[in-house]
């Protein structure tokens, strides 16, 4: 059956962080907004009750909260010319499967990105010149600077209730914060989380080494807080069930907790759940979007007409939706022309895994983004002259796991694999295992891109998205550099056994353990329609009533998690729609 829903002012595809943040802004402005979400409804208290939600088997092991690859997946190859194969098992792209999206199950590191991350091209050219770039690297500015985005970072933190210790407020350095952070107008809404024993050891070691440790800003609420929308958040209880779990305690920022209770009270908001948008509809000349077509849970095909179309799906699916809808020019790796699918980025992770001899690290007291970090080797916070790469990593003592099944494999190499010997080793290692993560930058490359797969199709018969990606020389160099720093710190912390790893030393795979899940780009924002799909307001250059929001807009990946940057750019775009576009519908940037 085909049906057509009444026309809306705005249709939003996907109700995760980006979609719900946008919906809150636009409904508050009085627009009639319909959101269409692939996943099912989830409610904080009833879907994730604290009495039964902490279940490692269904959460971390069976990954019940994620969208299963059997429903929708991607194909992957390392370089052009290879045949891509679909990811058929759970992989590092952790898609949400509910209203709230991945924002329901995320771990919660809540970073503002730095000036450098928003303007990497200008900064690198200014400090080092083109000689610093390895062959094929693509570097470009976003068109929106940190200065432009600061008020929106501020607002998003006050929606999320982010916990942390400020580093620089109105230009003045603050004790205990990140001295490298760009100036903020207000402190974090809630205080930093308590530190673990491993965090303290890391803090002491890096201080001795002359670095500047600080608490990683977190979605785990540091104290009672009423957010910018009037919703109450409760302090984190350190139960340790964060990543791959919804928080039923109102203690982890998520769309479900921080936005949806307000949104669902507004008569001008509707969400259509368990319905997947398969196409953005346009006028015949492709100059305007007219709405979207979706398949609902009964298999019926619905159409939602709207004056403004906003897509806020999982990062990669934003690219796919444009490709499936024939909007804007797809990237062609042979000519370097075209923009959709171009500038796909991942992250470059390095690790030091360590065992102490006789510690009591008590990892059971943890939470999702519980980490102490140094930014001395992140972004462009250090001189790269002679190093042969740009970027770096946030290096952190990450205490986000203490669950028994997950920890059971973390015993020193050479330990017995079963029986009494294993038990003894596990008992000891549970209290003595620690890790340092280097979460590294990744810059776009002309051979890293996305397009439609020529072979594999989804359940609706539409081609899957194909990822062509491998680490480039910049990643390998920065990855090893950061790995060595991680190992030096682990030694200073007094660990007995240390193993350093740079994941970029091996080819990219979607299944690599300990890897990042932060994929970005494909529908990037920018200053030039030849190298970006959208202008600085995330407005499509060709179709002015189409806005694609989320990390798909970011032309490079930072040594930070992306969510708060997604929130800030979404609020920035919402303001442009409300203040500029509604008054004068049409391109907001004219060249």
């Amino acid at each position: 059956m085909h049906y057509k829903r009444p026309k809306a002012d705005v249709v939003i595809v996907g109700l995760g962080w980006a979609g719900s943040t946008m919906a809150e802004e636009l409904t508050r402005a009085g627009l009639n907004v319909v959101a269409i979400e692939r996943g099912a409804w989830r409610d904080t208290s009833t879907s994730f009750p604290t009495t039964r939600n902490p279940d490692e088997l269904s959460g971390s092991i069976r990954k019940d909260i994620l969208q299963a690859p059997v429903t929708e997946t991607y194909t992957v190859r390392n370089r052009p010319g290879e045949t891509a194969l679909p990811l058929r098992k759970y992989h590092n792209l952790t898609l949400g499967n509910n209203v709230g999206g991945a924002g329901t199950h995320w771990a919660g590191a809540s970073w503002r990105w730095q000036s450098f991350d928003h303007q990497p091209y200008s900064r690198v050219m200014e400090r080092y010149g083109a000689k610093q770039l390895v062959d094929g690297l693509i570097l470009q500015d976003w068109g929106a600077s940190y200065h432009d985005l600061e008020p929106f970072y501020d607002r998003f933190e006050k929606i999320a209730g982010t916990s942390g210790t400020a580093g620089v407020i109105n230009g003045v350095k603050q004790p205990g914060g990140n001295p490298f952070e760009d100036s903020r107008t207000s402190p974090y809404p809630t205080p930093a989380l308590e530190r673990t024993r491993a965090n303290i050891l890391f803090s002491e070691a890096t201080t001795r080494m002359g670095y500047s440790p600080f608490p990683v800003p977190s979605a785990m609420i540091g104290g009672p807080y009423t957010n910018a929308l009037g919703i109450n958040l409760a302090p984190c209880t350190y139960c340790g069930y964060c990543q791959l779990y919804g928080c039923g305690n109102w203690s982890k920022s998520s769309p479900n907790i921080c936005i949806l209770p307000v949104l669902m009270q507004r008569p001008n908001f509707t969400v259509v759940t368990e319905s997947e948008v398969v196409r953005i509809n346009t006028t015949a000349d492709k100059k305007m979007a007219t709405g979207v077509t979706f398949v609902d849970s009964d298999g019926n095909i619905g159409e939602q007409p709207a004056d403004i179309v906003i897509t806020a799906t999982f990062t990669l699916d934003n690219t796919r939706l444009l490709l499936l809808s024939g909007i804007s020019t797809p990237y062609d790796v042979n000519t370097g022309q075209g923009v959709v699918g171009r500038a796909f980025t991942f992250q470059t992770l390095s690790w030091a895994f360590m065992f102490f001899e006789n510690e009591y690290l008590n990892p059971f007291m943890n939470t999702g983004a519980l980490a102490t970090q140094i930014d001395d080797f992140n972004g462009d916070n250090f001189d790269h002259t002679g190093l042969g790469f740009i970027g770096g990593a946030g290096i952190q003592s990450l205490c986000n796991q203490g669950l028994p099944i997950g920890m059971s494999g973390l015993v020193p190499e050479g330990s017995p694999r079963w029986g009494k010997g294993w038990k003894k080793a596990f008992q000891k290692s549970y209290q003595n295992y620690a890790q340092i993560q280097g979460q590294g930058t990744n810059f776009a490359h002309r051979e890293q891109f996305m397009d439609l797969d020529p072979t594999y199709k989804d359940r609706f018969g539409q081609p899957l998205l194909r990822i062509t990606y491998d680490y480039n020389e910049n990643d390998r160099r920065s990855g090893r550099f950061i790995r060595d720093k991680c190992v030096e710190i682990a030694k200073e912390m007094g660990a007995r056994e240390i193993k350093g790893v740079s994941l970029a030393d091996d080819p990219y795979s979607g299944y690599t353990p300990w890897d990042s899940s932060h994929v970005q780009g494909g529908v990037v924002m920018g200053e030039d329609p030849r190298t970006s799909v959208q202008n600085r307001y995330q407005q499509n250059w060709d179709v002015p009533n189409l806005f694609v929001i989320g990390a798909s807009s970011f032309p490079n990946n930072a040594g930070y998690n992306p969510t708060v940057a997604v929130g800030a750019t979404t609020l920035w775009t919402a303001k442009a729609i409300k203040d500029l576009y509604l008054k004068n519908p049409g391109p907001l940037v004219r060249l």
Binding site: W41, D43, T44, S45, T46, P49, T50, T51, R52, P224, T226, L229, G230, I231, N232, A234, P235, T237, C239, G248, N249, W250, P261, V262, M264, Q265, R266, P267, N268, F269, T270, V271, V272, T273, E274, S275, D296, S297
Partner: protein
């Protein structure tokens, strides 16, 4: 009984097309009638909200005001009537006189109404207000929905017997202001005693369901204990300021507590929509009431075996949210210290909340809607008895201990899940 409309809308969505929108919510009808606005009808709409007509005259998942909700009384089930303007199944053919007879005097077209309809309170509605209420009620869009209202067993199914009940317990008299009190207190008294019908739940009843003289001293109904509303500092509102009462009725929460059970519905449907002046008046009235005269019992000693065992389970199961100090989180998670609901002699609400959990109030002023999960499946009768005994006798609290048998009885009475075997 608790039918948070927001939650209900979500449940509806699971069954019918997955559209979640407040536009489909019954409560919205109260705000968004499209009929031509006239001031008296608008005032009538406000009075209907103050009287919370919607709550009883709408079935779970039913059309607003079309009746069909089963009220479980000690005498059997009474199903509420359709009060929409449908001529066949509603009150579309009624005159104002018939409406007045029913609402203020308990007389319906088929004889006497059962006092589950709070005409015992509504009798105090002023002539002007009942007229305005009719102006609004008569405009409710017709919904054809036949309701069989009287399913009571013999002899309660004989409506004529209500003549005697009314003689005994119904004072069919208009509200008389107390000239020794301020206009604000009198306004509050009027709202509380008439439209608000607070005594319907909060005033103890005698064996025949009539109000006792212990007005607002707390009463048990449908598995809940509607707490003492007098100024008793131990079990009543003695420690709350007028602002605490206003905040509670406006948002469903205040610095001490969050609404639970049937009160959540009263706040979500009714009190949150009242004007500030009316809420201040209600608060002023309650603060003017004398305290219930009972002295608090002595707390059980910390060495009591139940208290010790209860503390251990409290730390494991409860302290993460309610904090180990019992302080909770302001406007969200109830403070268990000095909390009248905790210290009430009657533990029905505590047992209900622990066994089945409770939905949180989601209001315009506090949209959070944080809920308490049920522990019935997880904790044994003895554990629940111990935890509640610990809570009721810690941090300055003092209340009688509970036994495993009390919990077992409540579990059966409210149809809570059995605990998983240990």
């Amino acid at each position: 009984m608790t039918r948070n409309l927001f939650q209900r809308a979500l449940r509806i969505s699971f069954h019918s097309g997955f559209m979640l929108s407040l536009a489909a919510l019954p409560v919205n009808v109260v705000h968004a009638q499209n009929a031509p606005v006239n001031a008296r009808m608008e005032h009538g709409r406000y009075l209907a909200v103050a009287g919370d007509c919607l709550a009883c005259h709408t079935a779970a998942d039913g059309k607003p005001f079309a009746g069909g909700l089963d009220l479980k009384t000690p005498f059997g089930i009474i199903t509420t009537s359709n009060i929409t303007s449908d001529k066949e199944t509603g009150i579309g053919n009624w005159t104002f006189q018939q409406f007045d007879d029913a609402v203020r005097h308990g007389k319906g077209p088929n004889g006497h109404l059962y006092p589950a309809m709070p005409y015992t309170a509504y009798s105090q509605i002023t002539d002007a207000d009942i007229a305005d209420l009719w102006e609004y009620i008569r405009t409710l869009p017709p919904v054809n929905h036949k309701v069989e209202s009287n399913k009571l067993p013999f002899p309660y199914n004989i409506r004529t017997l209500l003549v005697f009940w009314n003689l005994l317990f119904f004072k069919d008299a208009a509200f008389v202001p107390d000239n020794s009190k301020s206009a604000e207190i009198n306004r509050g008294a009027y709202l509380v005693q008439s439209l608000g019908h607070c005594g319907t739940c909060h005033t103890p009843k005698n064996a025949l369901g009539g109000d006792t003289k212990d007005t607002f001293q707390g009463a048990s109904l449908q598995g809940w204990f509607a707490p003492d509303l007098t100024n008793n500092a131990h079990t009543g509102l003695g420690q709350w300021t007028a602002d605490d009462i206003v905040t509670y009725l406006r948002s469903g929460t205040n610095r001490y507590t969050a609404a639970s059970g049937p009160m959540t519905e009263a706040i979500v449907n009714s009190t949150q929509h009242l004007t500030d002046a009316d809420l201040q008046a209600i608060a002023a009235y309650f603060k003017s009431l004398p305290p219930r005269t009972v002295s608090p019992p002595q707390p059980l000693p910390a060495s009591n075996a139940q208290v010790t065992a209860g503390q251990r389970d409290f730390m494991v199961e409860c302290s993460a949210c309610h904090r180990s100090s019992g302080a909770g989180i302001s406007n969200m998670i109830p403070d268990l210290r000095n909390n009248p609901a905790v210290k009430a002699q009657n533990p029905d609400s505590l047992l209900n909340i622990v066994l089945k959990g409770t939905e949180g109030p989601a209001t315009l002023a506090n949209p959070t809607g944080a809920a308490m999960p049920g522990f019935g499946w997880k904790l044994q009768d003895e554990q629940i008895a111990n935890v509640l005994t610990y809570i009721r006798n810690s941090w300055g609290n003092a209340a009688p201990a509970l036994s495993a048998a009390d919990v077992s009885k409540a579990r059966a009475a409210i149809n809570a899940q059995p605990a998983v075997p240990r």
